[in-house]
């Protein structure tokens, strides 16, 4: 831990002009983000009624969904350009598209659309036989009584897994059977987001859910994700880390990211940070109490659980947190919420988390 070094001889010389030393001390613990030079600007213009957007893995394609069920794809002419134009519009649903998520690039150029009737559609860009390149529906996950609230893809060495969270508090994990075709999915598991796997919460009603896969890539990486609900059933809300137990072919809750008194708090968003070499994992969880930063141990303890430590509780957006995203080094967290701001958070050299910058959209 760094301490501000006192002068070698405290009595020497004169006092520095007021403010200078305080500034120096503050900067000694400063964070590495500043100064922020905000450059850049508009890179794409979206159509009327656009409700959601998603950038692909390399930031070269933007998919947006709109209230009339239109999926739009934006591309840039070359990789060094940062101006994106809409090259395709296709109507994928009669109702609105609520969320768009890109399928990992190892499985082609495809997006999952969550629609207003609760269905989940997979659309893919493909050349088939002698036909030209087109976007085609490759899979439709329909459900009659419940709605899909969130969906996220996880890649393990060869297979692709899809986790969907439903409005009745259920979680379904599907596995892709054929890596070449996004059509055939097998339901691998279905469970509720509760530590106690015996009790079933039948009448759960969930407003939103947030899923985040462990973003680690690599052959030896097992599958795990974190999931939290915003529901009327306290037991389902708190974020839990689920890990796939290969030996017994089942999903197990290995950690709960909530202090005992906060377990019923509705979760707005979760985000699992990239780990480029830390001995522990970092996960951000947003509830109405703020954004909590959790350190999660890498190796399970005797009871199979992972050790967890809440290292910070950050307040900033006031109300709901819409989205949280970690940068590519897993050190800066960007968040946005109902106060209409984008905020950036980092830990300083003392391990203290703090807000580093905020962006206010202005016309």
């Amino acid at each position: 831990m760094i301490r501000f070094c006192p002068p070698l001889n405290p009595n020497r010389g004169y006092e520095l002009a007021k403010g200078t030393i305080a500034a120096a001390r503050r900067s000694a613990e400063m964070v590495w983000l500043s100064p922020i030079a905000v450059s850049g600007g508009n890179i794409a213009t979206l159509d009327k009624g656009t409700t959601c957007s998603s950038w692909n893995y390399c930031g070269q394609r933007l998919a947006t969904g709109s209230t009339d069920g239109t999926l739009s794809i934006f591309d840039s002419p070359d990789p060094s350009s940062s101006s994106f134009t809409c090259n395709l519009k296709t109507k994928v649903h009669a109702g609105a598209i609520l969320k768009v998520v890109w399928v990992p690039p190892e499985f082609g150029d495809a997006v999952a659309c969550i629609c207003s009737d609760g269905s989940l559609l997979l659309w893919e860009e493909i050349v088939e036989d002698a036909q030209p390149l087109q976007w085609k529906l490759c899979k439709s996950f329909e459900s009659t009584s419940t709605q899909v609230l969130d969906v996220q893809f996880g890649v393990s060495s060869t297979s692709l897994k899809l986790v969907a969270a439903y409005s009745d508090g259920h979680v379904k994990v599907y596995e892709l059977l054929d890596p070449l075709i996004l059509k055939n999915w097998q339901l691998q598991a279905e469970f509720q987001n509760a530590i106690d796997s015996v009790t079933m919460f039948r009448k759960a009603s969930c407003i939103s859910a947030s899923i985040s896969w462990n973003p680690q890539k690599g052959e030896n990486q097992g599958s795990s994700f974190v999931l939290g609900f915003n529901s009327d059933t306290p037991q389902l809300n708190s974020s839990k880390v689920w890990e796939f137990d290969e030996a017994h072919n089942r999903w197990l809750p290995v950690a709960e990211l909530a202090l005992p008194e906060d377990r019923s708090d509705e979760v707005y968003a979760v985000a699992w940070a990239l780990n480029i070499g830390r001995p522990y994992e970092v996960i951000a969880v947003a509830t109405q109490k703020g954004i909590a930063i959790w350190h999660v141990g890498a190796n399970p303890e005797l009871d199979g659980r992972l050790s967890v430590e809440k290292v910070a509780l950050l307040s900033g957006h006031g109300g709901e947190v819409w989205q949280m995203e970690w940068d590519m080094s897993g050190t800066t967290l960007a968040t946005t919420g109902s106060d209409g701001m984008v905020r950036l958070w980092q830990s300083n050299l003392n391990g203290v988390w703090d807000e580093q910058a905020a962006f206010q959209p202005t016309a």
Binding site: R3, V311, T335
Partner: protein, 710 residues
């Protein structure tokens, strides 16, 4: 608020200090804004999507904007192109120093007596520092014009804060030889960079600039009070050449006046000579600069005393009474007072505390050595001339003088961004064990990395966010022991694969750093991209390069399906190339072996149709037998294969299959007849009598071959 504790900070944050800066995010949309979306792009550029609440009235309105925010920590002082030039230019000095460091480290492992901080290590660091410094732009001395304008007292270079900061770091940390004459180095430094302070307040430089504008229109220069004031100010900060040049513009030098202003001119010249003979505690002076250099302190002290005595003597001289021109008399005596170290004069004639500081070194405390006394003096000067606004260069200088490595580092980072801090660390650690320990200590709070590594990672991220600079990020990432490779993998993974050149560059980087799993992942993505976008050949090629057996097997399977559906020649030709590409390496799928045999079989059949040679027919039979024997051949292919071979079975000249072979095929046919009864059996797309015609042909062949073998 944030965190449950205040870390180990002795000075707690004040609430005010914690408030983050709020930056405007201009999107140009009419309110109301309904929602925002965020996504990190490569490096540290953040993309924000702004969604607008749709309104009923207008039809063609915009529904939202995507805006990119680059958090690159650069100020507007340096243009994008210049910045990239610096970024690219600093790669090789950095890499060279790293490799030297590595060889030093391996040397010191062999003999424990040498440490990288002894011996000639700092010479390497100085070389590095000079290389970096030269990237940041050239200073005045090199831009001398051929014809010198006698009235041009100031050159007009455009110094940058970045260069000024680098020079400070070099003087104090890299250049061990300059340690003995640091005050003089600061004199030079201020002479080069005083103009940088002019933007926020008046400086000696700005006074000179103003005066230079008036100079051309002045008739009798010595009557102008500003002339004397500006000269005195310049003298106070030690710009001796400028002062002497200005003095020689004095009217008494003019030929027509020389006669009646002899004494006056003598005094002016005497002062000019004294100024140009000022003893300086430094090894050398640049050409054109004035003063007499002394390397050893005793010599310097002796010369100093002598010089001071000469000034004092002139001050008391009687010639002053004979000097008729009042302004000249006052002006010159003022200048003598400066040289005699009159505190009040120095304080009124300088503007910025740094100027006063330099004046102190030159005329009041010329024997100052050691950072501690330099720091004390700086504090005194700041008190006498408080700064109107804080300046990043001053923050850095105070940190350096205060011998607080953390502050120096923080000021570098805060004031000059990640490029500066990453490259300055090399200089900072060169001679200071304290800095070395501080920067290389592994910290739990940083996830187990050192501060040096942290800053390199941050800089690499800045490089990564631009398509023209990401390619140099690996140099810095690979110098990070713990997390560099992890970030490099992420960076490479996030490069688009749909541009071939970029893809090849990407793979080249993987090869260079032995990132096999990343490169195979990239090739997998490229393979899938091509496969799905109609470029099946390239798709297979990249998947093979990636050794992605799972996908290749599936492709082979798809080919079976396609081939099995219809066995027409056109269809076969379509696939033939792919089968060729898929290769027949033992590692790849068993299914491929089938496809290869199948291809050979089909080729032979085609030859038979064309030329009817018995040899080709024999080859076809061999292929057929090996296909039928191979357990990998899917059952649904059996009948189509046999049906295709009817011609072989009914070969006119002589039976081509021996008894054993015929029996094998008959058994397979029998197996097939039984399999047809199962519900999951897939009927081949063949004429209804196919089975019976094959059976008949086989029976006939059996008869003929039995007869022949007897």
């Amino acid at each position: 608020m944030s965190g449950e504790n205040q870390g180990g900070a002795i000075v707690p944050y004040s609430e005010e200090a914690k408030k983050p800066v709020v930056y405007p995010l201009r999107h140009g949309l009419k309110p109301p804004i309904s929602r925002l979306g965020i996504s990190w792009s490569r490096g540290n550029s953040l993309r924000v999507t702004v969604f607008r609440q749709p309104s009923e009235d207008s039809e063609n309105e915009v529904g939202g904007k995507a805006v990119e925010v680059r958090l690159d920590g650069r100020d507007g002082e340096i243009s994008d192109a210049q910045w990239r030039r610096i970024a690219y230019g600093s790669v090789s000095p950095f890499a060279l120093l790293q490799s030297r460091k590595n060889s030093f480290a391996s040397l010191s492992k062999i003999s424990s007596t040498t440490s990288p901080f002894d011996a000639e290590w700092w010479e390497y660091v100085l070389e590095y520092s000079k290389d970096i410094s030269s990237l940041l732009g050239n200073q005045t001395s090199t831009t001398q014009s051929l014809i010198e304008d006698p009235k041009e007292v100031l050159k007009d270079p455009e110094p940058s804060n970045l260069k000024a900061a680098w020079e400070l770091m070099e003087s104090f940390y890299a250049d061990k030889l300059s340690q003995a004459w640091l005050p003089e180095r600061l004199v030079d430094w201020l002479a080069d960079y005083d103009s940088l302070f002019s933007s926020t307040q008046e400086t000696v430089h700005s006074k000179l600039v103003d005066f230079q504008k008036d100079l051309v229109s002045l008739q009798v220069i010595e009557d102008e009070p500003k002339y004397w004031e500006v000269m005195s100010s310049a003298l106070a900060v030690g710009w001796l050449d400028i002062v002497v040049k200005l003095l020689r513009l004095h009217g008494s030098y003019q030929l027509d006046q020389l006669g009646n202003r002899e004494t006056e001119n003598g005094l002016v010249e005497a002062v000019a000579v004294l100024i140009s003979k000022m003893p300086r505690m430094r090894p050398e002076l640049e050409a054109g600069k004035l003063g007499e250099c002394f390397k050893a302190k005793p010599d310097f002290m002796k010369a100093w005393e002598k010089w001071r005595a000469q000034i004092a003597k002139l001050e008391c001289s009687t010639f002053w009474i004979q000097c008729a021109h009042r302004q000249t008399q006052e002006g010159l005596r003022n200048m003598l007072q400066i040289m005699l170290g009159n505190t009040n004069n120095l304080c009124t004639l300088t503007c910025h505390w740094m100027e006063l500081y330099i004046a102190h070194f030159l005329y009041i405390r010329p024997f100052t050595v050691g950072l501690e006394s330099m720091y004390g003096l700086a504090q005194k000067c700041i008190q006498l001339k408080p700064m109107a606004a804080s300046h990043r260069l001053m923050g850095l200088l105070i940190g350096i003088l205060g011998e607080n490595i953390e502050v120096v580092l923080a000021e570098c980072s805060k004031g000059f961004g990640p490029w500066m801090v990453t490259h300055a660390i090399e200089v900072l650690t060169a001679g200071s064990h304290q800095a070395d320990t501080l920067l290389h200590e592994e910290r739990d709070n940083l996830g187990g990395i050192s501060m040096e590594e942290l800053h390199r990672l941050v800089y690499a991220q800045v490089l990564s966010s631009h398509p023209l600079t990401w390619q140099i990020a690996p140099i810095y990432l690979t110098s990070c022991i713990k997390q560099g490779m992890g970030l490099l993998e992420m960076l490479l993974y996030k490069q688009p694969v749909d541009h071939n050149q970029l893809l090849l560059k990407n793979l080249e980087i993987c090869r260079l750093y032995e990132l096999d799993s990343v490169s195979s992942n990239i090739m997998k993505i490229a393979g899938m991209y091509n496969w799905k976008h109609g470029k099946k050949g390239s798709g297979v090629y990249w998947l093979q390069q990636a050794r992605d057996e799972a996908r290749l097997n599936r492709i082979a399977q798809q080919m079976f399906d396609s081939v099995g559906r219809s066995i027409s020649d056109e269809n076969f030709r379509q696939w033939e190339g792919l089968i060729q590409l898929l290769g027949s390496e033992p590692k790849t799928a068993g299914g491929l072996e089938f496809l290869h045999n199948y291809r050979d079989f089909k080729k032979s059949l085609l030859q038979i149709r064309d030329g009817k040679t018995t040899d080709a027919a024999r080859q076809a039979v061999e292929s057929l037998i090996s296909l039928m024997k191979n357990p990998c051949t899917p059952q649904r292919f059996w009948l189509p294969l046999l049906h295709d071979s009817l011609k072989l079975l009914n070969w006119e000249e002589r039976p081509l299959l021996n008894v054993l072979q015929t029996n094998l095929l008959l058994n397979k046919l029998q197996e097939l007849s039984i399999a047809r009864l199962r519900p999951d059996f897939i009927e081949a797309d063949l004429p209804p009598h196919a089975l019976s015609s094959v059976r008949l042909a086989l029976a006939t062949n059996l008869g003929r071959t039995t007869l022949e073998e007897q």
